[in-house]
């Protein structure tokens, strides 16, 4: 693995971003919109009850951005190479799949942090929510698990793109929203009906958001459940990387990289 090739791809994404209003827009637009909608709604609900909801909801929105952006950006920046028909020259170059994947991880992570910082500032200005309410160690652990899982999802979508081309691009935007209702981002696991809870408990994201709520309320964290989430995410990432390498190999067998759609 060569650092200069990873750097080359990061420059490629940087140039893609500064030339594309879409790529600039989607770092800020939806996250900021979420802060307004959920923030205002929580203010309203809070008036109806004694429970202080705002921290829990905003904490959920802020952490969700890590899995959302990181998974989506991997697929979208890969798709960008298909849209611009750059795949042919990229794969004729010495770039390795692992270097491509790492560069995509980095771009997803950087954009997640940029969106997070903007949202954190906005949350403070609008609702007085301080990000420093998070325990820094807990926060780092949550973000790490979310990144690992998001990268796994991103690589899996990338495999589908290599296998079926840009016609499956809708997955890049949609898959993460299928996971969200079962991830208990805004409500506890106990709030779900039994059938949904059975799915939710399987997902690493559920354990992260349960941990986040405990951390924000000063309760004890269930490290065992976080260990499960971490292990699950690592294994999922490894499997996704393996599926991606198979998909690229299959694309090469079928000659699809030489005529990308």
């Amino acid at each position: 693995m060569k650092l200069h090739r990873i750097t080359a791809m990061l420059w490629n994404y940087y140039y893609d971003t500064i030339h594309s209003a879409d790529r600039l827009f989607d770092v800020f637009y939806w996250p900021i919109l979420d802060i307004f909608i959920w923030g205002f709604m929580t203010y309203f609900i809070q008036g109806l009850s004694e429970v202080r909801l705002i921290n829990v909801i905003l904490g959920g929105i802020l952490l969700w951005v890590f899995i959302w952006r990181a998974s989506q950006d991997i697929a979208v920046y890969l798709l960008e190479n298909f849209w611009t028909r750059n795949v042919y020259h990229l794969f004729a170059s010495p770039l390795r799949t692992s270097e491509l994947a790492i560069s995509l991880f980095i771009v997803g992570a950087v954009r997640s942090f940029v969106a997070f910082i903007v949202m954190a500032i906005l949350s403070y200005l609008l609702y007085g929510f301080k990000v420093i309410s998070f325990n820094i160690l807990h926060f780092s652990l949550f973000v790490l698990i979310l990144f690992l899982f998001a990268w796994g999802i991103g690589l899996l979508i990338s495999s589908f793109i290599f296998r079926w081309g840009s016609r499956v691009q809708v997955l890049a935007w949609s898959i993460i929203w299928v996971i969200q209702p079962f991830s208990c981002v805004f409500y506890p696991l106990s709030a779900l009906p039994l059938w949904a809870a059975k799915i939710a408990v399987f997902l690493p994201t559920t354990h992260v958001f349960e941990g986040m709520r405990a951390s924000l309320q000063g309760l004890a964290i269930n490290y065992q459940s976080l260990a499960y989430a971490f292990l699950f995410s690592v294994i999922f990432l490894i499997i996704s990387a393996w599926v991606l390498s198979l998909a690229i190999k299959r694309s090469k067998h079928r000659g699809l990289l030489a005529k990308p759609e």
């Binding site: 791809m9 960008e80 042919y88 004729a92 067998h253």
Partner: protein, 310 residues
């Protein structure tokens, strides 16, 4: 020393009627410093062969050695020492010429890449377009940008697939001159695919003629034409052309007709052409003019393609 050694290469693709053999048991070696041409009609297997040699497509079977190393094992090293230009695929269309060249220079690990980009863009007259996104360039300018990209890493092996398509004649000549000079100065091996036969004839020391995934002939332009041993006969008529056509039919000589000119090929002047001309005199079929020409590589290409179709 052989830079490329291909043995028993086979590649099939799925099709509606089963499988199509795009590469049918090809064996080939290309020497260091050679400019090697790949010729063939559409679908002959030229692009598939180039794609396999650049790692974009995997073969079903066979071995490929480049720089004496197994391609599948040493792919990364081989790709670092080689490059490709094709008129069919642009670089990233959203990025400017300069940005694309920076990305690819870094991908190939080029030291002092700013200077290299400056030199090559000057050579290919792209300096005024450095800040222009690829999507706003003309097709010729895009082709030149891809060519510059292919030369950034001073490749020891260069694949050029129709790399002068879209260039105006002046620019195409500059590119051909540059490639010849580059080949002479660096000893770079070039694998050249083109539909312009004159270009192939001028640049390539050896040519492989592909048809339906097989190499039909391999050799230099002169030897291919010598092997053909044919002369093209053009007979110009202002009248009597129908009688002339009937006579050629009777003699079983295939011909083409174009604006009062009948064109056919003869292998042996004494045995075929002279007796034929005597018959023209005998049947009082008068023609205005006669031209005898040696075939060009283009005519060889067309003839071989037709023979193989039959």
């Amino acid at each position: 020393m052989n830079v490329i050694e291909v043995k028993n290469l086979v590649k099939t693709f799925p099709s509606k009627n089963g499988k199509v053999k795009a590469i049918d048991n090809i064996s080939l070696s290309i020497k260091k410093g050679e400019i090697f041409g790949l010729l063939g009609v559409n679908g002959a297997g030229k692009s598939t062969l180039t794609n396999i040699l650049t790692g974009l497509t995997l073969p079903d079977s066979g071995t490929i050695k480049i720089f004496g190393k197994d391609f599948l094992i040493h792919e990364e090293e081989i790709k670092t020492r080689s490059n490709i230009a094709t008129a069919y695929y642009d670089l990233n269309r959203s990025l400017t010429v300069r940005e694309n060249l920076i990305v690819y220079a870094k991908l190939y690990g080029v030291q002092n890449y700013q200077k290299k980009i400056q030199e090559l863009t000057e050579k290919f007259m792209l300096t005024s377009h450095l800040r222009t996104p690829i999507k706003f360039l003309s097709s010729g300018e895009r082709t030149r940008t891809v060519l510059v990209k292919s030369l950034l890493n001073d490749p020891e092996l260069l694949f050029l697939d129709e790399c002068t398509v879209g260039l105006d004649p002046d620019m195409a000549e500059i590119v051909r001159d540059y490639l010849l000079q580059y080949n002479k100065e660096t000893g770079c091996t070039i694998v050249f695919t083109s539909h312009y036969m004159q270009e192939v004839e001028r640049l390539c020391q050896r040519i492989a003629f592909l048809y339906q995934g097989k190499i039909i002939k391999i050799g230099n332009a002169q030897s291919l034409l010598k092997e053909l041993n044919l002369q093209r006969v053009s007979l110009h008529f202002s009248n009597n052309i129908e009688e002339a056509k009937k006579l050629l039919h009777r003699e079983n000589i295939p011909f083409d007709e174009n604006n009062g000119i009948l064109v056919f090929w003869v292998k042996n002047r004494e045995k075929i052409l002279y007796p034929l001309l005597e018959k023209f005199v005998k049947y009082k079929i008068v023609f205005d003019d006669i031209h005898l020409n040696k075939p060009t590589l283009e005519e060889y290409f067309i003839k071989k393609s037709r023979e193989n179709k039959r």
